[in-house]
């Protein structure tokens, strides 16, 4: 009996120690992390609200993370910066408000840490979401036509609708697609942080 207790304690000790080392200590390091105030008094990173926050929930729900990362590796380690995926590496403070975190582990598609800075166009993003090969020939990203309504009758085309390049009609984004665009547009880490000079 005594031996079982010793073994059990030893077993638990190993995992408790690793949790402390890998999670609790870094968490303690971040305890006083706050937004950075720049010279103009703006606070970075920005806490997402409204359409952008709703769009982030869509991003999570649709599982974008399985093909897209949101992290820029430092110069000299990979070619993230040379590919134009960011002006600087990303640092812990950039993710202050991210819940759940969406750092990602796979780049079947490009990194999106600065997707909005790189490509601000609403038409581009919405066409790309509707059917990625319209903007990116050869892409294997799944089309998200279910986030749109297709309009083929030219009368009564709402202003928000976007004309398809093959002239087969217009696509009318649902509010979910608009939110998703708002979130993608918000992905911009071009602000400066003292710990991550550009």
């Amino acid at each position: 009996m005594n031996r079982s207790v010793t073994i059990a304690l030893g077993i638990m000790l190993t995992v408790v120690l690793s949790m402390a080392g890998l999670v609790l200590i870094p968490n303690w390091q971040f305890r006083e992390m706050e937004q950075h105030k720049d010279d103009d008094g703006n606070l970075w990173p920005v806490r997402l609200e409204g359409a952008e926050a709703l769009g982030r929930a869509e991003y999570v729900s649709l599982g974008c993370i399985y093909c897209h990362t949101q992290q820029v590796r430092p110069a000299g380690f990979g070619a993230d910066i040379d590919r134009g995926w960011g002006m600087r590496r990303t640092v812990p403070r950039d993710y202050l408000f991210d819940k759940p975190h969406q750092l990602g582990t796979m780049r079947t598609g490009p990194d999106l840490a600065n997707a909005g800075a790189r490509q601000p166009s609403r038409d581009w993003h919405l066409l790309h979401l509707y059917d990625p090969v319209i903007t990116s020939p050869g892409s294997t990203m799944p089309p998200h036509r279910f986030l749109f309504e297709k309009i083929t009758v030219p009368d009564r085309v709402p202003e928000r609708a976007i004309r398809l390049p093959d002239n087969s009609g217009w696509i009318l984004p649902t509010s979910r697609a608009e939110h998703l665009y708002a979130y993608l547009r918000s992905l911009d880490k071009s602000y400066e942080l003292p710990e991550a000079p550009q």
């Binding site: 059990a8 190993t14 690793s18 890998l22 999670v23 070619a79 590919r83 294997t140 998200h144």
Partner: protein, 478 residues
């Protein structure tokens, strides 16, 4: 050549039969459920795999979009197939090794029902879009309560067996099983709390995520898999394990080092450098337990490899044990920054994960099932041919899977690190290998169907009464 073991005493056999009878309901239910989830997970896998090279496939059904099918595949395989098979094997091994009957025989079958409903609910919620968005923890948080309850019952059963054990000596498998049963619930509860609530801030959530996810393999599947190998290899070849001391060294070094390896998933990421370095050191230290286990298993097997021709259990188990060595070496090397700079974020990692969860753990569970289930059902496997089909489709399938995606991933990483190559050219480069993955997936799925057919017939008691084991080939002179 080891001396033949003496015939076990008659009361020994009787006690084994009694133990097996006590396990029958719980273990068969767990393993049959696991096979169901294996089939479900295979369907999801094939859908996801085809989508990767034919994005238009089933594209207009939102619940079948790639970003939902893929986590549904992972979750059914990890929590349905892997964990349920693991629990079945774990309970049976513990009862056999402690030489006690399975306790809690009313409550344990209830946990099978709850566990199945939890996996079903979680999978449906992912497909509906209610995933938590945290890799390996996609099931909505309420699933934790149900699987947590089941694990609680399983811990109690394990502790009861360990405390009541009728054998003074604790065999190495018992150490691993006792470890697994204590580690996993702790990991699961803390993993959810730390990565899904505000208990941890910002990227500390990511650290918690990978501490958890890597340890599901390291501290749950690996110990169950190794316990199985340590039990099955000596059992089938009729020879004790080579070295007791090596096996203890292997256990404690695994317990101490595997824990720390998880942050190698975050190399180059936005985390303190020391944290990633710790993950790399932990990964390198894993060479010790891995080499220890490999040497111990190899020296046990030496001179007995001819049994691979006849014993289905041994064939799967040895394939799995060799894959464990391979995947661990690959994992340690992949954690090196120079390798990781290329391999990170590519199909290489996906191939590596399947080498671990499939070629090692799943093959080990197949091997265990071939040994355990006939003893519980008192019926033999009805067809050696279907077992051969199962072995060769899955073995060739995972080999093709691994080779194709490892190569594709490595090239993908090299091309990605050259900023002059357009991204879409890289996508184009990987396409043929994504097709080869689908072919591999079909092979493995065909193997799973053969396995399910065998299990179905066994449970329906369609097979010869249990006298001797089903062999892949007749032994000479038998």
């Amino acid at each position: 050549m080891a001396a033949p073991l003496p015939e076990p005493a008659v009361n020994d056999r009787v006690s084994r039969i009694q133990i097996d009878r006590s396990c029958r309901q719980t273990v068969v239910w767990y393993m049959a459920s696991a096979v169901f989830w294996l089939l479900a997970g295979s369907v999801l896998a094939l859908v996801a795999s085809v989508k990767m090279h034919a994005p238009g496939f089933l594209a207009d059904a939102e619940w079948l979009t790639f970003g939902r099918v893929r986590p549904a595949h992972l979750s059914t395989m990890i929590y349905g197939w892997g964990s349920m098979a693991g629990v079945g094997v774990l309970l049976w091994l513990q009862a056999r090794l402690s030489r006690v009957r399975l306790p809690l025989r009313l409550l344990l079958p209830v946990t099978v029902v709850i566990w199945n409903l939890a996996v079903l609910y979680g999978t449906v919620r992912i497909l509906q879009g209610a995933s938590t968005g945290i890799e390996w923890l996609e099931f909505p948080v309420e699933v934790l309560a149900f699987i947590g309850f089941c694990m609680g019952v399983i811990i109690v059963a394990s502790v009861l067996m360990f405390v009541r054990r009728q054998v003074k000596h604790t065999y190495v498998s018992q150490w691993y099983l006792f470890g697994a049963v204590l580690w996993f619930p702790f990991l699961y509860v803390l993993g959810v709390i730390l990565s899904e609530t505000d208990a941890a801030r910002g990227v500390a959530k990511a650290a918690a995520n990978w501490w958890f996810a890597h340890n599901v393999l390291g501290l749950w599947f690996t110990p169950i898999g190794l316990a199985t190998a340590y039990y099955m290899i000596p059992k089938v070849i009729g020879r004790p394990v080579h070295s007791y001391h090596l096996s203890l060294l292997g256990f404690w070094t695994l317990a101490i080092f595997y824990n720390w390896a998880g942050t190698h998933h975050l190399i180059g990421g936005p985390l303190p450098a020391w944290l990633v370095t710790v993950g790399i050191v932990g990964s390198m230290m894993m060479f010790i337990p891995v080499i220890t286990v490999a040497v111990n298993h190899h020296l046990t097997m030496v001179g007995h490899f001819h049994h691979l021709r006849t014993s289905p259990t041994l064939r799967f188990v040895v394939f799995a044990a060799m894959s464990y060595t391979a995947v661990s070496f690959q994992g340690s090397l992949t954690s090196l920054r120079a390798v990781n700079e290329v391999s990170h974020f590519t199909h290489y990692t996906i191939a590596h994960a399947h080498l671990g969860v499939y070629a090692f753990f799943s093959m080990m569970m197949f091997g265990a099932a071939y040994y355990i289930l006939p003893r519980l059902m008192n019926v033999e496997w009805h067809s050696a041919r279907w077992i051969r089909v199962h072995f060769w489709t899955t073995a060739l399938g995972i080999a093709l899977y691994w080779v194709g995606l490892t190569w594709a991933g490595w090239q993908q990483g090299r091309l990605m690190n050259d900023p002059n190559i357009p991204f879409l050219a890289i996508v184009e480069y990987t396409k043929p290998w994504l097709h080869s993955r689908s072919v591999a997936g079909v092979l493995m799925a065909a193997g799973h169907v053969s396995f399910a057919w065998l299990v179905w017939n066994l449970i329906r008691q369609r097979g010869a009464a249990l006298i001797g084991p089903t062999l892949l080939k007749r032994r000479k002179g038998a």
